[in-house]
């Protein structure tokens, strides 16, 4: 008797279990669709005749017109900034601050994590305090300083040089990572007479490869998508424009030619999406590590 009851109970439990699972996965699936749809929609709109006022978005469909992509490439070239050049510009602007900047941040992070020196705490907490300052406060004065004192107006230098010194945020991220590394290796190397720089370069950097790659990828993604910086400093010189400036220029005061705008957006999104697909692990690690303090 008791056993029978138990079986009935188990069956009921099983049924509600599967119904629950079904609705859970249905919700997850529908929300995923909501996240993916705008991209498919953009792709659908981009395959329209750029000269026509109307557009279709459904894919697959009969007429696939790649005229908008063609127009994007041709028009950009006519405006003095071919697409390949805008992409190259972006890479040239973002690489030095990221590569040299991460190195400088790592150097400082190592010093704070392992070396004892007078004034260390003051400098460390001073640097952390600067992270609190909202970026907007220093935007205008930086712009004016670059223009008036450094005479860097209409050059990409303001986008490149400041980042090469590193950032407090990256430093903190790497500092936390370095603190988790075992000290034994370093101590052995010190006994062997290796210098601090040697230890940093030959032991710490290789050991923290994942953390450093994470920082490089996250910084690259942020810098590639940056709009305000290039808009302030290089927008007036066509040949210096970045990808984001090129995308935004497809929309004019005359109106919004959606197929063309979508074609430009998709071209601009390709590098980001490729990076995300191939380096997803690092994105996830980077975000969760910065969030948990």
């Amino acid at each position: 008797m008791i056993r029978k009851e138990a079986i009935v109970h188990k069956k009921q439990f099983k049924a509600t279990y599967y119904i629950g699972k079904f609705f859970a996965y249905l919700t997850l699936l529908l929300t995923s669709l909501f996240f993916i749809f705008p991209f498919l929609y953009a792709l659908g709109v981009s395959f329209n005749d750029p000269t026509s006022a109307s557009f279709e978005w459904l894919l697959p469909r009969e007429t696939i017109d790649i005229g908008s992509y063609y127009k994007f490439f041709v028009e950009s070239e006519a405006n003095g900034i071919p697409v390949w050049r805008a992409f190259l510009n972006t890479i040239l602007y973002v690489s030095p601050p990221i590569l040299v900047g991460v190195f400088c941040s790592a150097l400082a992070a190592y010093s704070f994590a392992r070396i004892n020196f007078k004034g260390k705490n003051i400098v460390f907490y001073g640097l952390l305090t600067t992270m609190v300052i909202p970026g907007i406060v220093t935007m205008v004065p930086s712009f004016l300083l670059f223009q008036d004192f450094y005479k860097w107006d209409n050059t990409p230098l303001p986008l490149i040089v400041p980042g090469m010194f590193g950032s407090a945020m990256t430093m903190l991220f790497l500092y936390q990572y370095f603190r988790t590394l075992p000290k034994e290796l370093e101590e052995a190397a010190q006994i062997d007479g290796m210098s601090r720089f040697g230890i940093f370069f030959k032991i710490i950097l290789p050991l923290s490869f994942p953390a450093i790659i994470t920082q490089i990828i996250l910084s690259f993604n942020g810098a590639y998508n940056d709009y305000m910086g290039p808009l302030l400093y290089v927008n007036s010189v066509p040949s210096m424009k970045t990808m984001q400036l090129l995308i935004v220029s497809t929309q004019t005061s005359m109106g919004s030619p959606y197929p063309l705008m979508m074609a430009a957006s998709i071209i601009g999104l390709i590098p980001t999406l490729l990076l995300y697909i191939f380096a997803q692990k690092y994105f996830v690690e980077g975000i969760t590590m910065t969030g948990i303090k």
């Binding site: 859970a24 996965y25 929300t31 995923s32 996240f35 705008p38 991209f39 929609y41 953009a42 109307s54 279709e56 400088c104 941040s105 150097l107 400082a108 010093s111 070396i115 004892n116 020196f117 400098v123 600067t130 300052i133 909202p134 970026g135 907007i136 406060v137 220093t138 935007m139 205008v140 004065p141 004016l144 300083l145 400041p162 010194f165 950032s167 601090r196 993604n221 590639y224 998508n225 709009y227 808009l231 302030l232 995308i247 929309q251 005061s253 919004s256 959606y258 705008m261 979508m262 430009a264 957006s265 601009g268 999104l269 980001t272 999406l273 995300y276 997803q280 996830v284 969760t288 969030g291």
Partner: protein, 305 residues
């Protein structure tokens, strides 16, 4: 004698000095960068905010708080502040949705990695591209949202989603879509860290799903929720690219204005003093809001677990 000298040279004292020098050398690049490109501009920001620096400047003329008063009396700036403050309402709403989805993901772990990766895609995309995509979805005539609403018979005339009052709601919907991935990732990580035994013990004691959610899940997530709210609100108050791209190159209408956009306009028109003052006002406002959130967080954020 020789030995003694050697000891002196490599004694513990000289070693400490050498370490200190190396320590400072390693910190130097970052420190110089922060001083040159952050501390110096910060001081300069206050200096120009008190000076009369319009298009042509011959030397600086101190004018007290005039720039600050001008900015605060500027309807465009105040409208921008109101716009971004309204848009901030999307942040807690987004956290709410993210919490529900995260709970679903944790209790249904199969395929959760795939779902998380999909939710995160908009986050890696540039603001300009995603704003353009949403603008085309909101478009009148052929845009998918108007089309769908019309075919369902819910509306007869197209709605102009990118104007006046509708604009901010459109921005909020897009903002939630674009930001949910990060929130889910963060919440998922902190929910995973909660011990399963806690839930099991609660189940044995006869706690319901709702009770478990409010007594275990929410307190465990509260530090992460606080972090998302703090960064989300600070980021929304500094919005620029999305607002400008969504408004559609039709000038700078008040209904789409944001404070940073206002500052950008003032900077490019060479109203340096006002632009700088507006930056300080907005930055100060963000700091006050953040400080207030920190104080309020003591009431609801649980750091015990």
């Amino acid at each position: 004698m020789v030995r003694k000298e050697k000891f002196k040279k490599h004694g513990p004292h000289s070693k400490a000095i050498k370490e200190a020098i190396v320590g400072w050398l390693f910190v130097a690049p970052l420190l110089i960068g922060v001083l040159l490109f952050l501390a110096f501009p910060l001081v300069y920001a206050f200096v120009i905010s008190f000076t009369d620096t319009k298009a042509t400047t011959q030397g600086m003329q101190f004018i007290g708080f005039d720039n600050y008063l001008n900015v605060l009396n500027e309807p465009l700036f105040m409208q921008g502040m109101i716009n971004v403050l309204i848009t901030c309402l999307a942040v807690p709403f987004g956290v709410f949705i993210a919490t529900i989805l995260t709970n679903l993901l944790v209790s249904n772990p199969k395929f959760s990695i795939i779902f998380k990766s999909i939710y995160y895609v908009p986050t890696v995309c540039g603001a300009i591209a995603i704003t353009f995509i949403w603008q085309s979805m909101y478009a009148q005539g052929y845009g998918v949202i108007n089309q769908t609403l019309k075919s369902l018979g819910w509306i007869k005339e197209d709605i102009n989603f990118i104007s006046d009052r509708n604009f901010l709601i459109s921005m909020m919907v897009m903002g939630i879509w674009a930001g949910l991935g990060t929130s889910i990732l963060l919440l998922f990580a902190s929910l995973k860290a909660v011990s399963k035994q806690l839930y099991e013990a609660a189940s044995i004691d006869g706690a319901s799903f709702i009770q478990k959610f409010f007594k275990i899940t929410l307190p465990a997530l509260s530090p992460t929720i606080f972090y998302i709210l703090l960064t989300g609100i600070s980021g929304t108050l500094q919005e620029f690219a999305r607002f400008q791209a969504m408004a559609g190159a039709k000038g700078s209408p008040a209904w789409a204005m944001s404070p940073v956009w206002f500052i950008y306009l003032r900077t490019s028109n060479n109203f340096r003093g006002e632009a700088s003052a507006a930056g300080i006002i907005l930055g100060g406002f963000i700091l006050i809001i953040s400080a207030f959130q920190f104080v309020a967080s003591r009431l609801w954020v649980n750091y015990d677990t």
